[in-house]
């Protein structure tokens, strides 16, 4: 979507059409001629994988919506109807429910890659913020979707999450009633969640288009975190080089996805969601889906409800400010030894919080969750701004081509191997 187009239509019709709507030129410049840094690894394939997952979720979701009934008395039975009576209904439903998890798995790899290699730094701040917006929309989407089967955990989850709003002083209860469409989670809540669950994916598509647009203006970051200097030496054309690499990565990703769908389809499904929702019988142990667990752990780590809710939202919103919290001019962790260490501490805090979020609350888990929450916020608020001032970074290669040459030289010298 920048000035890389060298597209010349071959046919007379092509020229006629291009003069009126240059869409083929746009596609050509964005997905054929677009220069891709030579040194990017398979971690950069997750953008393509996520695009695939978004489309896959929309397609399977539309098919499910043809058979699903958004009503508190019929929703659960309609899911069983899909599983037992609809041709390949089980397949579409398992593709969709496990697809949500694969989508989040891919987005987490994508985000951690972005943090590790400093992909949020100038000139990619807007690109990063658009990504955080997509992530927020995905969390809302995942939550709405989880409520739809109207199982007992769906109901408990809907109650817990919407109840967060009651923590807001003065207007909180009013907001909660407005969200519920009544005085508790019920039929009106389910129907509006279904409506929103159908809407949000298309909002995500819109932001994804902006995200890709911003990417194609700034260009991709790469493992060395140096900008493209010479298109000839530093880059390859998107097609065929990145296209075939992304396709291979996608195919391997699909093996993992298929493993979940065909062999362990209920592994990530909470057993309580195989019991129909009953407002009078709450599950003994309420847990959200795995991809929301770290935030759930942060929420529970704080004894005050309002403070917990504020921390929960801050944990997400702070991500949008990373481009300005990080004060170092060097992008890639490859050249930032201290940052690399703290990055892994941060990653471990996130995974640890996720595990704690799945556990029943005890003094030990609360204490651990508090320590790890401090680690999470400490990385964002203290470590990132401070490192830029104290860290002694390693020399950054002058260009991508130099980085590749240096690596080749290292590989040919036997003593350099660790």
């Amino acid at each position: 979507m920048s000035g890389n187009s060298t597209y010349v239509p071959k046919s007379a019709f092509g020229r006629w059409f291009e003069a009126r709507l240059p869409i083929m030129g746009l596609v050509h410049s964005s997905f054929v001629a677009y220069p891709v840094p030579r040194n990017i690894t398979y971690l950069w394939a997750f953008g393509a994988i996520l695009s695939f997952m978004l489309i896959a979720q929309i397609v399977t979701g539309i098919v499910l919506a043809m058979h699903y009934i958004p009503s508190s008395t019929l929703a659960f039975a309609s899911i069983e109807h899909i599983m037992r009576d609809v041709n390949y209904g089980w397949l579409v439903r398992y593709l969709h429910s496990n697809g949500a998890s694969m989508f989040f798995f891919a987005v987490y790899v994508h985000m951690f890659r972005g943090i590790y290699y400093g992909s949020y730094k100038a000139p990619r701040e807007v690109l990063w913020i658009l990504g955080v917006i997509i992530y927020l929309l995905m969390m809302a989407e995942g939550f709405f979707g989880y409520v739809l089967p109207w199982g007992s955990m769906s109901f408990a989850g809907a109650t817990v999450i919407t109840n967060l709003f009651t923590a807001i002083p003065l207007v909180g209860t009013g907001i909660a009633h407005w969200l519920w469409g009544g005085y508790a989670v019920g039929d009106p809540t389910l129907t509006r969640f279904f409506s929103l669950h159908y809407l949000v994916p298309f909002m995500i598509v819109g932001v994804v288009i902006l995200h890709v647009w911003a990417l194609h203006v700034a260009g991709q970051n790469n493992p060395d975190g140096v900008e493209i200097k010479d298109v000839e030496r530093d880059t390859v054309a998107f097609t065929p080089y990145a296209t075939i690499k992304d396709l291979f990565a996608l195919s391997v990703f699909l093996i993992v996805y298929a493993w979940f769908v065909f062999y362990i389809p209920t592994y990530l499904l909470d057993a309580d969601n195989s019991v129909v929702a009953n407002p009078l019988a709450t599950p003994a142990h309420i847990v959200p889906e795995w991809y929301l667990l770290p935030f759930y752990a942060i929420l529970r780590a704080i004894p005050n409800k309002l403070a917990g809710v504020v921390a929960l939202f801050a944990a997400i919103v702070l991500l949008a400010f990373i481009p300005w919290l990080d004060s170092s001019p060097v992008k890639s962790a490859k050249y930032r030894p201290l940052f690399r260490f703290f990055f892994w501490v941060f990653a471990v805090c996130c995974v640890g919080l996720g595990w704690l979020g799945s556990q029943e609350v005890s003094d030990a888990t609360t204490l651990a969750a508090r320590i790890l929450s401090i680690g999470y916020f400490g990385f964002l608020i203290v470590v990132l701004p401070l490192l830029g001032l104290i860290e002694k970074t390693k020399p950054v290669p002058a260009s991508i081509a130099d980085a590749i040459l240096a690596k080749k030289g290292e590989a040919s010298a036997p003593s350099a191997a660790s």
Binding site: I244, K245, L247, S251, A258, W259, D270, G352, A364
Partner: protein, 276 residues
């Protein structure tokens, strides 16, 4: 490389410490043992249901469990491939032996009962037409058994829950193990509502079945152990009737994806080899 390893290993080791410490604390609080893992014909990548076992399991359901538990699955599914595979005539006769409430009233406006058809869903137990009636009798309605096997899981703890997801160990039969364990868990003869495997050991359902309660016609010994095993297998099928179809399709999908990935890998190598 060396530095990358230390920068990763130190935080990872710290995390492992925190996790194992709090998981050790959590384990102390567990009150009842986890159901032991059994071997099932339908586990694993090539797992298939044992037809005869499902037929026996259905007999146990029909003669024992159905007194209190509903099983809302359609009669016709009992004849479908990958299930108990009763013959068409058997399914018809079986359905006709039940009285079901017609969906619509008759031309006098009366709700009436008629003999069941294969397309009908198995009716609720005669004595408990709805959950409220059952709850009035037991304090708590016995759960519908259609999804029972899927609704029973237990904490496996770290690191087992990771192994449970991996090939060759994929542990997807927790529900069956749970049902089998509960039926074998009435180990205090003086207290019929004490169960070794039930949370807090207090179960509303008194020991439902004992040796010899159901007559098997295929020579299988009529023991509690066999009843428990067969009915657990049957309920696993009832909760997941497309399991065999799913695993068959999965194998084909996997072969396709592995071949596709290999082809794409070599194409990618070929394409990139032109660069210097």
């Amino acid at each position: 490389m060396l530095r990358l390893k230390t920068s990763f290993l130190v935080p990872a080791a710290l995390a492992l410490l925190v996790v194992s410490a709090s998981s050790a604390l959590a384990q102390d609080e567990a009150e009842q043992p986890n159901p032991p893992r059994q071997s099932w014909s339908f586990s694993g990548i090539f797992g298939k249901f044992d037809q005869e076992q499902l037929q026996r399991g259905f007999k146990v359901y029909k003669e024992v469990c159905s007194a209190c538990h509903r099983l809302s699955i359609p009669f016709r599914t009992l004849g479908q491939p990958g299930g108990p595979e009763f013959s068409e005539a058997q399914v018809k006769d079986l359905a006709a032996s039940y009285q079901v409430v017609n969906d619509e009233p008759n031309d006098k406006g009366e709700i009436f009962k008629r003999p069941g058809m294969p397309s009908d869903v198995l009716p609720p137990p005669d004595s408990f037409p709805n959950d409220q009636a059952a709850a009035a009798a037991f304090g708590k309605a016995p759960p519908d058994m259609a999804l029972l096997a899927k609704s029973l899981k237990y904490e496996r703890g770290f690191p087992w829950f990771i192994f449970d997801a991996l090939p060759f160990d994929q542990y997807q039969e927790m529900g069956a193990d749970y049902i089998y364990a509960i039926l074998n868990g009435y180990t205090k003869p003086d207290d019929p509502q004490w169960n070794l495997y039930y949370p807090s050991h207090k179960i509303a359902m008194p020991a439902p079945i004992a040796d010899g309660a159901v007559a098997y016609t295929d020579g299988t010994p009529p023991t509690l152990d066999n009843y428990a095993r067969d009915v657990a297998a049957f309920l696993s099928w009832a909760a997941e009737p497309t399991l065999e179809e799913r695993k068959n399709d999965g194998l084909r999908t996997m072969i396709f994806l592995f071949v596709l990935s290999a082809l794409l890998y070599f194409t990618k190598k070929r394409v990139w080899s032109g660069l210097h």
